[in-house]
Structure formats: C-alpha cells, structure tokens
Symmetry: C2
Subunit: 91 residues, 2 copies
C-alpha cells in the first residue's frame, strides 16, 4: 500500500483502488497548504472542516460530507484550523 | 501525524484528532485479519465492502456508509476481497 507524506508530514495519505479508479484517503493537519493536480480530483471531507480556494474562486468553508472537484493541471489552496480527514478520487 | 502499519503493511492508518476524541482513517487491503480493541471502537466504512464477525455474532457484510461498534478488550475478524477505507473512532 502506498503511503504518501507531504509538507513535512502535515499532510499524509494512503492509496486504495476503487472500481472507478485510484483513490486516496488522507489527513490534513492545521495549516495552510497549496496542492497541484495532475489529474481531475474529486475531494470529499470525511471529518473536520477547512477553507478552500479553488481556481478563480473566493475562499469557501467546506465541512464533513461536502466536497469539490478540481480540474487536472490546476492548483488550489486550503487552510485548516483543525485536523481534516478526506477522500480524494482521481478520475 | 502518527502513521500505523499492521499485518506487513496490508492495513495502514493515519491518526487525527476530533473534538470527541481520537480517530484514525485507514485502508484494509484484501485478506483476512483479526483486530483486538483496547478501547471501544466505532468503525464506519468509507469505501468498499467487507465481511465482519463481531464477538458472539455470525459473519455479516458491511458496505460503505455502514458501521459497527466493538467493545473494549474484544477482538473481531474481517475478510476483505477489495480495498476498504474506514474511519475508526476510539471513544
């Protein structure tokens, strides 16, 4: 199983296979991070909440159960004030 | 962030803090595993499905969105035929 660690370990994820394609689940610790995409990403929050700034958009708060889609080749910013768990589907 | 690896890496988890207490998210690869609890565990499947045998119960299939509670000091068996993602709350 692939274990990924980013930003000095403040963001970590585990890879799994879903029938529809590759997926990760992960945890984001408190902080501000910028992620870049190399494929379309469909992210859903499982626990916690964080602010997200999608390309061309204003900051918006997302809570557990909510999610967003980011196109391939883009970048987006997040700001977490608590631990956030997420599932991210690469499609 | 604490990263845990069990069963030769076939089960891995990441720890996070929720307001209500400690939590992990994790992935279970295909296989049969027996887990022991040292506190009450409330487990919910996020992705995939697996059979679970709780103490004193028969095997039962759980799918994403479903979950179960295991008392402290118990053990339970799982059998996964696909990757399973879960969230486990220790309360």
């Amino acid at each position: 199983m692939k274990h990924n660690s980013y930003f000095d370990g403040k963001v970590q994820s585990l890879a799994l296979a879903e029938k529809e394609g590759p997926t990760t689940i992960g945890v984001i610790e408190p902080g501000a991070f910028t992620f870049s995409t190399s494929s379309e990403e469909r992210m859903t929050l499982i626990s916690g909440s964080m602010k997200v700034r999608l390309p061309g958009s204003e900051w918006k708060l997302f809570v557990a159960g909510e999610g967003f889609v980011v196109a391939s080749g883009a970048s987006f910013d997040v700001e977490a004030k608590e631990d956030v768990a997420y599932i991210c589907r690469y499609r």
